[in-house]
Symmetry: C2
Subunit: 438 residues, 2 copies
């Protein structure tokens, strides 16, 4: 196979290749903006995604374009940066080359910010029935599934359709981290508040939403107090919270939870992620979650030219001794740090290996639990319920700035929240009913 | 197959079944809102679609949810109306029953507003390579194709990729009615204005956009003056306007135009539509375009209980003798007329067959030709260029009211137009490159 240089290189400049256009890769590439280098950002999809709000697209509150921003547009004004959309296949540590789709890119510095993928723990056949919520097309897929389930429930109204009706009206969210909690709350609210008035012959508010967590409590990454608050709120909505329960099997018919079979048409997987398969190409043994343990300056052990950042990196904060969590804030801080280190080295100010250790500034953790409620914990503040939601909303509005037409996104989002009138419940795929029950 | 009544029926009330939730069906169902009847609106998709702006979704100016509105939400407050999402399979004129997906609906009045579908004139195999632009998922598909073509062009930068590059950078729009003209202009503007600054290694403004029309002139439904104005504007953008030219073949490689082969990756079909296949189930001989010729009161010949409205109906205005055009205005007026006739009959005010003839109030015809330019003709006014666009914009803003969160849509749309900064160029399908050239 003939391999050719990827373009975007100005001769004589050092090349920095960044794999991944998520929070980590974006902020790293940004931190290199004033440098006399070639920055090549490679991603599979053509957009940066505001992942924390993906569950809102899955439940029809926001539209796709409200939380996705074209990568090329994001780097339009950064003259030293090129964007290439495609899948990286090889990382050649010896030749210092990244390869993919018949192209080749030489690096002087490599930053791997490839993120995580869904992990079905050896049951990849579940993916078909229980999509995860990492990418935009998955959010669209889940929205189509949820809305189609209600349509099919509306259609299965006779006595002989009772089983079908039950399955259509049952939604199982597997995994109760922030995404699972947010999604379960949002599905229940969609059923109760949003679409209930739209179905005149079906009481959608009776939809069962089950949140299944293998650990002893939901939001196990947060404090017990936050778990309890979230559980209380979810239960007040009518979400069935199952803790310490294991999902044994998922099929098109439903979910086996321990030894109880729950018929359910719609299942969402929020139970686990593992590192991108690119992690396996870095020549090191992976640690838990398919991640890469990095040195205190985020470099790959033995390689001062290769950095791993974001969710894919496993590192302990030197001050607290705690693992840096796989959240947007962590990725952003790592990206900025990595960018600054590379910049300092290229400017000759700092030798490789002599950087101050990366430290994580924990701004706190939060999760929304349905509309208008949240849990929040940080060093200074622990909140739950509406006050936590207000903080959550403000933070996310500020964060959303830079997305889409900034004001338009904010507006659509505020509108949806304030006036309880979202209208993105659009099924973009033609509805098919091949196996008619009638 | 056991067939059961569709639900939503209150016993003892007359049943009005409306097939299709487009402009015609919506306005008909609306016109029946104060009547003591059961209105059952059936559609395949769960949303009403603002079709005139579909080309803007296809070119990334608007998001899907800006021009689609859930049907159920639209009829939330109309107590006598039910919405059923599914495909109608049979129309039994003898039993007065509509059947589909194992269900059955009896009608006292039937309104068929099923609209049109793409017509490939016997070359259905072209559909795969040249999707039409009638439904929302097609707009998403076309957007994905257009944006992916530019990504692939960016990737095909070497000397040996010249043919590939050429094909990726060539866009063919087949058919130059309003949709084709609007789409060709929008694609060229996307290439020149929107994404050109985003591709640093590819001059997207060099993209060829070909508009191919079999008739002697584009916009053949409008006056020669309008055709000339539109052609002039399109050419000033750099769109190649081919009139009186026939498309002989479409494949994954390109388009055969008369005896000239034009390599092109992206082809859009805007050359023709034909009546929904439901037209064939009405027991009458179809007229040109697979349509149903109706009586002056829009009823099916010999059947005062069955009406055909919208694009599917062929009728001449009794005053002008001209065919009522297949545009939103025509459908809306027919829908309102049909609804009023049914209401009058059910109230016993008017006997079937005694209604005043349907007349079409022609508010004029327009087509945008890229951003900020349009052609417009009506009884009182003929405009082209920017003034026509201003009228077009005002009319569509007013029309958009009722869509999505009303102000949000308007805002997003205005924003995109005023500040030339649309950001919906989102590829929602994962990008694949199976047959690598490298």
């Amino acid at each position: 196979m003939s391999q050719r240089q990827m373009h975007g290189y100005v001769d004589g400049r050092p090349n920095v290749v960044v794999i991944g256009g998520g929070f980590g890769g974006m902020s790293c590439a940004r931190a290199l903006s004033r440098l006399d280098v070639n920055v090549l950002l490679i991603d599979r999809s053509n957009h940066h995604l505001f992942q924390p709000l993906l569950y809102q697209v899955a439940t029809g509150v926001l539209g796709e374009s409200d939380i996705a921003y074209p990568l090329r547009k994001a780097f339009r004004k950064q003259n030293n940066a090129s964007v290439l959309i495609g899948e990286v296949e090889e990382i050649d540590l010896e030749k210092k080359e990244v390869r993919g789709f018949g192209r080749i890119a030489h690096w002087d510095h490599l930053v791997v910010a490839a993120g995580m993928k869904d992990n079905y723990f050896g049951n990849d056949q579940w993916a078909e029935h229980a999509p995860g919520l990492k990418a935009l097309h998955q959010a669209t897929d889940i929205r189509n599934r949820i809305l189609t389930a209600f349509e099919d429930a509306d259609y299965a109204f006779g006595e002989e359709d009772r089983d079908e009706l039950l399955a259509c009206m049952t939604f199982v969210v597997v995994g109760a981290g922030a995404t699972g909690v947010e999604l379960a709350g949002a599905i229940k609210q969609l059923a109760v508040d949003e679409i209930a008035p739209d179905f005149k012959n079906l009481d959608t508010s009776k939809a069962r939403v089950l949140l299944v967590e293998g650990a002893e409590r939901i939001l196990s990454g947060m404090s017990e107090k936050s778990s309890n608050a979230a559980r209380r709120i979810l239960k007040s909505y009518g979400v069935e919270v199952l803790e310490g329960r294991r999902v044994m099997e998922i099929s098109g018919k439903g979910v086996m939870i321990d030894d109880e079979f729950v018929p359910a048409r719609t299942v969402v997987w929020a139970a686990g992620v593992t590192g991108s398969s690119l992690a396996g190409k870095l020549g090191v043994e992976l640690v838990s979650g398919g991640r890469v343990e990095v040195k205190p300056d985020l470099t790959l052990p033995g390689r001062s030219d290769v950095r791993v950042i974001g969710d894919l990196a496993m590192i302990h904060d030197p001050r607290t001794g705690k693992e840096v969590p796989g959240v947007a804030q962590g990725a952003i801080q790592m990206g900025t740090y990595a960018g600054k280190c590379i910049a300092a080295e290229l400017r000759g100010k700092t030798a490789a290996g002599s950087h101050a250790d990366f430290t994580y500034f924990d701004k706190g953790t939060m999760a929304t639990v349905g509309r208008g409620k949240a849990v929040l914990e940080s060093k200074w503040l622990n909140l739950s319920g509406f006050p936590a939601w207000v903080v959550w909303a403000l933070v996310h509005i500020v964060f959303l700035v830079g997305f889409r037409s900034r004001i338009a996104a904010m507006w659509g989002w505020l509108w949806a929240y304030l006036f309880f009138s979202a209208s993105n419940e659009i099924i973009t795929k033609p509805l098919r009913r091949d196996d008619d029950a009638g």
